[in-house]
Amino acid sequence: MIGEGLITGIGRGTMAAWRELGGITVLTGQVLRALVPPTMDRPELLRNLYRMGNRSLPIIALTAFFVGGIMVVQAGVLVRQLNAAGLVGWGAGYAIFREVGPMLIALMFSGRVGSNNTAELATMTVTEQLDGLRALAIDPIRYLVVPRVLAMTICLICLVILGDIIALYGGALFAMLVLDLEYATLHYSLVDNIGWLDFIHGVVKAGVFGAAIAMSSCYFGVSVRGGAVCVGKAVNAAVVAAAISIVLLDFFLTYLLP
């Protein structure tokens, strides 16, 4: 009986996951169709760029600054043992540009902007605001979803670029304070060993993560059914889906990108 229940549960969960994946794929198709040629509400795009990007900057900057510091402090023990001070700039830069920067900032962005986006769209859905738009002959996908997807993708790319820079300076500051390294050592270690490809690698990841967060947060927002309780469930599902997407996409992109 327990085995039967387990199999039923796994089957039900798998079906639900495929259903949600199918829904996200259909919504992605609708968004792509709206982008060729681009037909969207530009004021809505600008409004979202401001509130999703500008307002996320302080928290992303703070996180990035200390992430850079943590990496240097963690590396400190090994650097002292191996007398490898010349590798600190390279190590920190490589990890920040390629992995830690895009992934951590994407997770922060998902928690702050993605969850807020799902809650907002889900509330609009359950209070019939999306039907209100349709009744006014306005396609909610073009009016609400497309500007949000674009804004979230653009904002995450910009935030990752800024976050990378801030993390590097955070790392440099902690390296000077904790490891007693000189700024010049860190600087040359970074610029001599890190190429544009490392930077681009992270930027491409940021764009893909931004689109994934946007699609999952918009999908769970517009597909919600029921009342206020369902809004909470939709936010929860969107955050979990975004986190899983980020980790899985990170794995594949790390494998595929040069």
């Binding site: 609009m124 605001q129 039907d131 209100g132 009744a135 396609d139």
Partner: protein
């Protein structure tokens, strides 16, 4: 613009199931251009669902819904968008856009058309808000308004673009009797000015009888009465008589 003599709404043998519930069961309804029809009926009888069918937000499982000669039953988005440009709708729960001010909400249908100057939009919004008793509220957010005020903003938004067909879902729910009468007077004056077709759903039997010359009563997805508002109280159907009189004795 409305064209007198033409059929504005033609609902033919519509069936609709939502989940496990058969909401509409062979519903027939016709409203002429420029007509004013009131829809009555007990709660959960399919009144609001009918309005959503008329604006294409729901598709019937069987039957046909035609708005001003255009069949909406195919669900073609382009057709629906074209038809909706001539429809104004007040939702039961207002459906005001909570990220916009009251003024922006009311201006929205005009602003989206793209052929009305900003100055004219501002003037019309001010006039419309004044007519629904909300002068000076344009800068407020919907969250700052009471339920009755939101309802009035919804009415202003539904009618500002002077659509050929206006659908009101419970236009006076939550309003006091005096404001209710004022709102129906406003809706009447609007209709006389624009010649639009109006379909209003309400549970307020007395107020609706004063507003609409024709009434239809929906119960369990079927029309139980369709005819003159002055004759509804004398209907041969005991359920209709009970609903109109508000009596506790009867089939309801």
């Amino acid at each position: 613009m409305s064209e007198p003599g033409r059929t504005a709404i033609d609902v033919h043998d519509v069936q609709l199931r939502l989940g496990h519930r058969q909401v509409l069961q062979g519903l027939h309804l016709k409203v002429a251009e420029g007509g004013r029809l009131g829809i009555l009926g007990p709660a959960a009888g399919g009144k609001s669902v009918l309005l959503k069918l008329l604006v294409g937000l729901l598709q019937p499982d069987a039957g046909r819904v035609e708005i001003r000669g255009t069949d909406l039953s195919s669900g073609d988005e382009k057709v629906l968008m074209r038809v909706r440009r001539d429809i104004g709708m007040l939702f039961q729960n207002y459906a005001l856009f909570d990220f916009m001010t009251v003024g922006e909400n009311v201006a929205f249908p005009l602003a989206r058309r793209g052929d009305v100057e900003a100055d004219e939009i501002r003037d019309r919004v001010e006039a419309r808000l004044r007519s629904v008793g909300l002068a000076g509220s344009a800068h407020k957010m919907p969250s700052e308004l009471s339920g009755g005020m939101k309802k009035r903003v919804g009415i202003a938004r539904a009618t500002i673009a002077r659509p050929a067909l206006v659908l009101y879902d419970e236009p006076t729910a939550g309003l006091d009797p005096v404001t209710t009468q004022k709102m129906y007077d406003l809706l009447s004056a609007d209709q006389e000015e624009t010649g639009c077709t109006v379909l209003a759903v309400s549970s307020d039997v007395k107020a609706l009888m004063g507003f609409a010359s024709e009434l239809a009563l929906i119960h369990e997805g079927r029309i139980r009465y369709a005819g003159s508002s002055s004759e509804i109280a004398d209907s041969s159907d005991a359920l209709v008589r009970q609903f109109v009189s508000g009596s506790e004795d009867g089939p309801l």
